[in-house]
Amino acid sequence: MTSAHVALKGVTKRFPASAGGQAVHALGPIDLSIRQGEFFAVVGPSGCGKSTLLELIAGLTPASEGQIEFEGRAIENEIPDGIGVVFQEDACFPWLSVRENVEFGLRKAGVAPDEKARRVRDAIAMMGLGEFAPSYPAQLSGGMRQRVCIARTLVAKPRLLLLDEPFGALDQQTRLLMGDEVLRLWREIGATVFLITHALDEAAMLADRIAVMSARPGTVIDMVETHWPRERDSRIVEQESFGATTSRLWKTLREESMKTMGRSAAAT
């Protein structure tokens, strides 16, 4: 278990019953082993617990059962050092400029002012936001705001980058281009990337390995290796094996998605 960069063993999440409701078994048991520097994606039907899985690894919520380790250390009730998260929702602080938003990621990093300024400048430049550094989020497009959030995460130099459907709110063209950006950053920073997505093509294009989750309670029902070279970009969608990968993902997911839809229909 310690040889993996991130390891999950028998991880389960149950949410206690709310007033008038029932307890929800959201996730697990899940066993996963993510390698150092790997680009790992998770796909699954709506409500299968993908985001919960990410929050468990980030230390934002505790597991009901099982153990999660990051770099050989158990994650228990606190956010581990070296983890960065990019959320699906717009997480820019609207009262801060782009520069201040990115600086926010270093607030607790204990970095010297000169080093801080250099890292902020580099992160902003890396995301192509140089000329927008003094702008406020309201003056930026959705894609640019998401890049600000990525820059804020990268400035802290995370060793594990957790991406929770980061392109969910963007249009298809922007998503493809942002996918290229993420691949470029992944190669540059050398971090392990854990991507949650509902888009099968996005997972097939970006990841080295893809875990397919079942309907709730989410468990891993398939693991797909893409065998892409490390140097890759969105043009791999033209390859035949890309189609084969997305087909395999959909074949596994179709039945699980039907289960989810059936559950929704029964609930209404």
Partner: protein, 250 residues
């Protein structure tokens, strides 16, 4: 925007001119109300004479004290209540019906408890404003996106740092709205209380001038209160607009 500002000034100037014309034509008699230009002249004379400065200073000090108490207590109480769901749900009916309670009716009781000094006036100003601040604060805190709190957690910030660097800055427009409400209620509470039972203050002087048909004092004081209230509220509204514009909300 500039055109709207011109319309606003035009409407106010038009109403003043209409009032001036009605007063000069005798439609409104001199004992009821002097023409606006006369009120303006009397106000300048009043301010130059400086006779009422102690009254003005006393009222303003009490207004600011009531405002400061209502604002600080409201923000702290709102923040604490936001973290305690049961306490909030217990107090929700009180907040919902609070402004149906005529606080002024308790004035005699406050005098019994606090005496004839400034205490009851400040207390009424405080009581009128504090719940508005609490409710506005809760409203703002309810709207803090969960993702911002999660971002603070990922940046390894504790509850206090999250409150200072995330929650309160997000709520800044609500804090300014709360300040406007607290200020308005502080003016109403303090000046209103001075009317009912006080031996000094702007409210008392207006009441005294009214019973003595002293329009040269009464109307300038009313205008002065209006001007002070409008200027203070205007400054807060200007800050609020700047904040909202920066966030793309206006």
């Amino acid at each position: 925007m500039r055109r709207v500002r011109l319309y606003q000034v035009g409407v106010i100037a038009g109403l003043l001119l209409l009032l001036e014309a009605l007063c000069l034509a005798g439609v409104i008699d001199k004992i009821t109300m002097p023409p606006p230009h006369r009120i303006a002249v009397d106000l300048v004379k009043l301010l130059l004479a400086g006779k009422l400065y102690p009254e003005i200073g006393k009222s303003l000090a009490n207004v600011l004290l009531a405002f400061g108490l209502a604002y600080s207590t409201g923000i702290v109480t709102g923040t604490v209540l936001h973290g305690y769901r049961t306490a909030r749900e217990t107090l929700d009916p009180l907040f919902a019906t609070y402004y149906a309670i005529p606080v002024f009716a308790f004035y005699p009781l406050f005098i019994v408890i606090f005496g004839l000094g400034d205490g009851p006036q400040v207390l009424i100003g405080f009581l009128l404003g504090v719940v508005a601040v609490i409710v506005t604060m809760l409203n703002g805190l309810d709207r803090v996106p969960r993702v911002l709190r999660k971002t603070a957690s990922i940046c390894r910030m504790g509850p206090f740092e999250t409150a200072v660097h995330v929650t309160l800055p997000f709520c800044a427009p609500y804090l300014l709205t709360a300040a406007k409400l607290a200020l308005a209620y502080a003016f109403i509470g303090v000046i209103g209380s001075e009317f009912i039972m006080a031996r000094s203050g702007m409210g008392y002087e207006i009441g005294y001038a009214y019973t003595n048909f002293d329009n040269a004092t009464m109307y300038p004081l009313i205008v002065l209160i209006l001007l002070l209230s409008i200027v203070m509220n205007g400054v807060l509204t200007h800050w609020e607009k700047l904040l909202l514009a920066r966030r793309g909300q206006r």
